[in-house]
Amino acid sequence: MYTIGKVATLAGVSPDTLRYYEKERLITPASKTAAGYRLYNDEAVRRIRFIKTAQHCGFSLSDIQELLTLKQAESACCEDVRSLAIEKKLHIEHKLRALQAMSRALDDLIQGCEGGEAATDDCPILAALENSLHEVSL
């Protein structure tokens, strides 16, 4: 059995993160000492690593809760997990396109400005942003 500090080090997270995971019902200590300190087993270490890897793939804690539920549900199958992964990919692709649109908008602004030491009152980027604010409020 491991203390919270030890299991945190083994899994590469902070003790605060573990307390947060517990609050979100993603992990629970295997037991507690007489003094009330949390104790974790090897399964907890595997679970924390699972959570971290899933987060790295873009899954939110709520998604991970669902994945962990599917993992333990007898009626669930690989197809359910695959569907979740495909839906996550769709969300990421949407975000990528939104970021690309932002990047293109910034390209337009950057191309319209030569920089230099002109006063900010004459800055085309600030002017363009200011004008777009007028357009929004009209």
Binding site: R82, S83, I86, E87, K89, L90, H91, H94, R97
Partner: protein, 88 residues
């Protein structure tokens, strides 16, 4: 005028496959086979198209290139949407 209905789903999705038959039959009965263009879109093979439609969950249904259902509709919801569309 034909009406194009696209079901965007993951290949191998049993839930999607079982619902598609029923929804297609409803579409054929409301619109008639000659007005119906039915297409099953694999989200993995046409990811860009699915994203351009705004699909975030599956199965989703697009009508004439516009996302109408972001999850599986009930047969009643689907029939109501088609009836409204057919009367326009």
């Amino acid at each position: 005028m034909t009406i194009k209905i696209e079901v965007i789903a993951a290949p191998g999705c049993r839930k999607c496959a079982s619902a598609q038959g029923e929804l297609r039959a409803i579409a054929a009965s409301v619109l008639g086979e000659d007005r119906l263009v039915w297409r099953e879109v694999s989200v993995l093979e046409e990811l860009d198209y699915a994203v351009s439609l705004g699909v975030l969950s599956m199965p989703a249904i697009a009508v004439n290139g516009e996302l109408r259902f972001s999850s599986l509709p009930t047969p009643e919801q689907f029939r109501t949407m088609l009836t409204t569309l057919a009367s326009c």
